[in-house]
Symmetry: C2
Subunit: 383 residues, 2 copies
């Protein structure tokens, strides 16, 4: 029998059995009263998750399509856009804006660092003509969470729109869309939302709608006006991913039953336990603790042991799948996801297997030492 | 107990249990050897379905996103495009081209009619500067199959590209992509491919690639060059709908086991049986028999009985769900799908329930008469 697999990459993430069961239901039509009821229920619950009264659209494509939806509906060729880059996905957001002809002012804060608000303030002051600011709530590639509240407070004073990629954060890390002034919030199904990939969710503010209506960029499948017109009757502009909607309904019911405060507390607890274990094993986090993500932990490859070599042993010997580094961090870090359908026992598996793999590779880490640190966090003894 | 539901709309269509089971598998990572193997196997089998050696991409969005992929990668603002319209989805293709700034020469052959090749020949002769010709293999809204072989032979003699929406045809009605000169073929998961919605499949010819490389339209999620670069390593440019890929692998295995000739013969047989039953009941098909689709049959509402009233009785009393008319045909026709996971017993259910609903609504159709006509087709006795 092959090793039982534990998928601990930052998306796709494990799907709860309740969600799998919902997705296995015989498929129904999408232009029916039943589907409209499911659609409406989903959007109402998403308003709780997003903390917003803005319009929310559930769109059938993955998260990158959601980022493109945000750009294609608000940015015209020649518009000035500020891109706050802290890693691979911040870069992707900037690339999308460039594909639409924007003049992108890209500020790279460094991979592993978070956005420096003083720089944002200065940039906004020097450039009152930014059409939009592109930010990443949780940079999946580096395990860094940015201060969206702080960025939002600065952008709100300007005419610029704040477009936020919340793909690997929303549902695991709190975001207050309305209170923080997020004009377009994007998330996707396959991260903390506990579904397979294939859906993006996009919230659009009144301030954003003014830009959407004036936007001249070509768009059809990504058209927010088309989505809005359809949703007035709880319809979708194009054929929706019906089975994923069934799953999303089930996933949101799980989240509502747990309570969003508890969901966020659980993600925080798991992240603290993983970080404590990593430190106890003498390993180094990529980001500072201050801005370390609650959904994914990025760790430098141990001295003398390649990060990818470590991942290979973990996967082949224990069925435990961590993610590697992306872009300039390829081969240099490994990442442990604890997002969505994740609990304390997952951390025990991750840390226990990590300790064994390190031992096999000759890294001098005492067996059980990381485990003890994680357990102490769970028992409230430390950290 | 509520009536057992029989979904007979032209997408989404019923999902075979083998496909549901595959989609319920615990989710895995998408940047793994296992996923690459699945991806490669899917593309190889799709080459058999599409009858092509062209590049094929499996993209995470619904069919309309596939149509937009075709346009966004080949059409520049100001390009002249010929749109061959035979219904709602032909109109949609023209709208997408217009959204990208094309000068669209739209020829409407009438809803319920097929494309007239003489008109196409004349148009191509008079306009040697068409960049692309947009055609619909199977017009879902009218149950008409167009002669793609004939259109392809005409377009192949010109520099124009032939972009074909095969969404409700491919996998149920034969298409010879290479032999017929189809430059971009689009299909989607939720029709004859027997999956839930959420994937589009796009085949791209060498002739099309030349245009793709020169294309200036903005695109990121829909970028074919990005898709091509990724697929060189059996990767995807953005997170794929992993569970739908598992399902697609299973669906293609079912199709390969049946054999594509048998798949097409089955669709033809079911369609002939439905048409025979409809005629025997004194109802009228929307299209001529000559161009009637093998995946969906469009029927005029019976005299004195509204098409939508009939559909309501069928759904509420028998759990049998037919589709209504779209656009200018709304309320005037009903459509019975027999595509994908459909067999003889489905036709028995459709025809038997139709007869009972007609009787309840006072339409003078002899019970069992349509059934007998269908049975005779199955037994090879007539038609």
């Amino acid at each position: 029998m092959p090793a039982k697999e534990y998928l601990m990459i930052p998306g796709p993430t494990p799907v709860p059995p309740q969600v799998s069961a919902a997705m296995s239901r015989p498929i129904g039509g999408h232009r029916t009263d039943e589907f409209a009821r499911i659609h409406q229920g989903i959007v109402e619950k998403l308003k709780t998750v997003f903390q917003t009264q803005n319009d929310i659209f559930v769109l059938t494509h993955s998260g990158t399509g959601g980022m493109e939806t945000a750009v294609a509906n608000t940015v015209n060729p020649g518009d000035k856009v500020l891109a706050l880059v802290t890693g691979n996905f911040g870069e992707r957001f900037a690339k999308i804006a460039r594909a639409y002809g924007a003049l992108v002012d890209e500020v790279d804060f460094g991979w592993g660092k978070d956005v420096d608000l003083a720089v944002v303030e200065e940039k906004l002051k020097a450039n009152p003509d930014y059409k939009a600011v592109l930010a990443t709530q949780n940079e999946t590639s580096t395990g860094v969470t940015n201060d969206i509240a702080g960025i939002g407070a600065l952008v709100a004073k300007t005419p610029a729109l704040l477009l936020v990629d919340g793909i690997s954060g929303v549902g695991g890390i709190e975001i207050k869309t309305d209170a923080w002034g997020v004009d377009v919030l994007i998330t996707a199904s396959q991260k903390a939302m506990m579904l397979p990939p294939g859906l993006a969710m996009v919230a659009v503010s009144k301030k954003a709608w003014e830009a959407v209506e004036k936007c001249r960029s070509p768009r059809f499948y990504f058209s927010l006006p088309a989505a809005k017109k359809a949703v007035e009757k709880w319809n979708t502009a194009y054929t929706p991913g019906v089975s994923l909607f069934y799953g999303l309904e089930a996933a949101l019911e799980l989240m509502m039953a747990e309570g969003m405060d508890n969901v966020y507390a659980r993600h925080g607890l798991l992240a603290r336990a993983v970080r404590a274990a990593v430190r106890a094993l003498g390993l180094t986090l990529l980001p500072e603790e201050r801005c370390a993500s609650n959904t994914v932990t990025a760790i430098h490859g141990p001295d003398g042991v390649g990060a990818d070599e470590l991942r290979k042993v973990l996967k082949n010997r224990y069925g435990v799948v961590f993610a590697g580094g992306q872009g300039i961090l390829k081969g240099k870090i490994f990442r442990i996801a604890h997002m969505g359908y994740a609990g304390k026992t997952d951390v025990l598996v991750a840390v226990g297997a990590l300790e064994m793999a390190l031992a096999e590779l000759g890294y001098p880490a005492e067996l059980g030492r990381g485990m003890k640190a994680a357990q102490e966090v769970f028992l409230g003894g430390s950290d």
